[in-house]
Symmetry: C2
Subunit: 455 residues, 2 copies
């Protein structure tokens, strides 16, 4: 049977299966979901066996388990290692969801629910593309799956697991769908990912909340102090002020900048998409450059004092923030974490005490566009989208990708099918059915072309 | 029977009664406690009747009820109007309490629990001083009680209630115990209170939380922006930067400053008491001046983005803060609220939207030291403390006090018996038994001396 026909005949079942996976609230950031992580892993093991894997297992780690599966056909075939993650972001703020985050529904041709795109929806395309090729007898590659449950919290266990299983996962290329297209009519393959350095800081003043009347004006307020410290981390030109922060940043040549800015980008549409009055960023760079090739610093969360209904007249004892930085080649997140901590301590006034913790990090990644696998991906997408995909430098991070290169020595192809509108990491995450099905078809074509030209 | 003897014989019962009141969680800031407000008011009505009032009633308002009670003996006697409040601060952060906030206990000679000092403990001294004078046949004043349930949230209903009941509460002086002594061996009468202007601000960027990788660096982050805006409200000399903020502040003369700084103050003890490495405040002023006669600006709470366990890589859609300012004569909180809002809007970058709300406010207050009632308070305290009390300019606010003067035309005597260590508004609020009993005795003496010299 033909691949397209098989997908067509099984389309409803594919989505029903995905819904089972989406219903498992596998939130890696919250320890209460420990059991759900195992449930999701076991569910995927069974699903991969049913899809045609010769073997599939849930392999324990110090954290959440890794699902490994494989189908080895011929020693001479090229081997593709599929990577994906079954953990999802927390659903909060939960009251902004229009549907239940872990009860997926289809509406307006889209799947709504946490993980619909990132990454359950995208990784499940791989399971179903694999099933399709096995069922139609057209698989000409060896396939391995490596699915982890800690991508959203830094992949710590997978680094170790890779060290321990280099032989098991040996492959010619790693194939990943955990990124987005520039637009539905502008297909793209992600060739660059920013690194990440995620910190948490706490500023402590008095040993308890104080009456802001009796003490206000005479005692440093940790919330005011923290605001000032955060504010000073970025100057009026949008530059990060941490000494040494830019030392290892590779400045692009004029030609590279010109090429990068050729991708279609409409700032008015961009503003409308996320409903902002104006863009803002580092002076002298375009929006594409600011997210693609320049580092950034963002407060991801801030809290301190009385945050409930009404008023409470206190000087809070503590104020805290989660602050993360996106890094670009050749910044090293470990060095950046050290520079951040040193600088943050140095700018604290003597009236407070400061704690700084590094929560997680990952290195930036650049993928070359002259690999056989890149060409296979390019051909596959050209066939399904009717347009040659552009190489794209994404602002996001998948820290483990650079880890794969350094530990396993294998390059990755980031062929994702998401769109900005999918609202990953936000309330009301969704994924287009069209994206899901076209993704499956494109992946089958990737295997076809990689079998022809690969290795 | 003698006053001292009566107090001695009934001391345990007095505290047992107070415990009943402390067990009612009358938190005015949280609407879930609506029923507890009424319970507390009814309890006080009954307690005042049992203590000797001719009549006592719970009078409804648009908010929490006012408890009014009176005992009118002779037209020719001076009339004292006792003011206090039965509402308390929220107990949060609840996990920092060493005992249950609403299950009072006695330990180390102190009463522990929310409201032990502020203001249930202090107002109940008045009920028991009144009982003592009635029971021993020594009351020579007419006494009225006016107890409200919204002091911690701005006393809105009491302003209206006073407008409507001017005749009912007519009196020669208002007597209040809702302040602290400089120290147990440095008794004081509070002659100045700062005003309060309490605002809430919200900064909105994108219409939802965004992925901080895909958008970081190109979109204004409301938490970073809010931090910058807050930071800019106070300059490096500790001056508040809102244009016009200091226009109405009366600068003290050198002689006044010298007098104010004569009160004993040990900065090392102060730092130790609240466990801070250093004091911090407006340049050119002492700690006593910074809290007593200079205005201040404090973040009382700040929140935005992901504040839970672990990491979440988002640009939050919104960030908010509660910011309050303490005001000094002759600043007007309504004018300050306007100046704040105008300034806060003006410093917002065009990349965000800003909302500003005034939550509540109150005018500063200064009490003259040449009133007959002041002298009566002075004599009473001198007798129980063995030392003449100092006039004290407190940093705190009791907004309704200046309201009493403008609406009712009656001055207030702020004879409070609290101490800094009582941790009002904080976890582990407490009140010394010694303060409670000496307060009762001092109040009976106030009535005695005011009857002799008053009106």
């Amino acid at each position: 049977m033909e691949v397209k026909k098989y997908i067509e005949q099984n389309r409803d079942r594919f989505v029903e299966e995905l819904f089972e996976l989406l219903r498992i609230p596998s939130v890696s950031a919250q320890s209460a979901h420990k059991g759900d992580m195992v449930r999701a892993a076991e569910w995927l093991r069974d699903a991969l066996l049913k899809s045609g894997a010769d073997k599939a297992e849930v392999m324990p780690t110090a954290g959440n388990p890794v699902v490994y599966a494989e189908k080895i056909l011929e020693q001479s075939y090229p081997t593709v290692l599929v990577y994906g993650h079954y953990d999802v972001m927390p659903e909060d703020p939960v009251d902004e969801w229009l549907t239940e985050p872990f009860e997926p529904v289809i509406k307006d041709g889209r799947i709504w629910g946490r993980g619909a795109d990132d990454d359950k929806g995208q990784l499940y395309m791989h399971a179903k593309a694999f099933e399709t090729l096995v069922a139609t007898g057209q698989l000409r590659c060896n396939v391995k799956f490596m699915l982890e449950g800690e991508e959203e919290i830094g992949s710590q266990s997978l680094y170790k697991w890779c060290e321990d299983h280099k032989e098991l996962v040996r492959a010619d290329i790693i194939l990943v769908s955990d990124t987005s297209l520039i637009a539905w009519d502008t297909p793209s393959i992600t060739c660059g990912l920013r690194g990440l350095c995620y910190m948490q800081v706490e500023v402590t003043g008095p040993d308890r909340d104080l009456h802001s009347g009796l003490f206000g004006g005479a005692v440093a307020n940790p919330a005011n102090v923290l605001a000032g410290m955060i504010s000073s981390l970025i100057d009026e030109n949008g530059h990060i002020t941490i000494p040494g922060f830019y030392d290892d940043v590779r400045e692009l040549s004029e030609a590279e900048r010109e090429a990068l800015n050729k991708a279609p980008f409409d700032v008015e549409n961009y503003k409308k998409l996320i409903d902002i009055p104006a863009v803002q960023g580092e002076k002298g760079y375009t929006t594409m450059e600011r997210t693609g090739v320049r580092p950034s610093l963002d407060v991801n969360g801030i809290w301190g004092g009385y945050i409930d209904e009404g008023t409470k007249t206190i000087i809070p004892s503590k104020a805290s923030a989660k602050i993360s930085m996106r890094l670009v080649p050749h910044q090293d997140y470990r060095k950046i974490a050290e520079l951040f901590e040193k600088h943050f301590r140095s700018i604290a006034p003597e009236s407070v005490r400061v704690e700084v913790k590094a929560l997680h990090g990952g290195q930036p990644y650049v993928s070359p566009t002259d690999l056989p696998a890149y060409h296979a991906a390019e051909k596959a997408m050209e066939e399904t989208f009717g347009k040659k995909p552009l190489p794209f430098y994404s602002g996001g991070s998948i820290p483990i990708i650079s880890g794969f290169e350094s530990i396993l020595g294998i390059k990755s192809i980031l062929m994702g099918f998401g769109l900005d509108r999918d609202a990953i990491h936000s309330p009301n995450e969704s994924y287009g059915l069209e994206n899901f099905y076209r993704g499956i078809e494109t992946i089958t074509l990737f295997y076809k072309y990689f079998a022809e030209t690969g290795k």
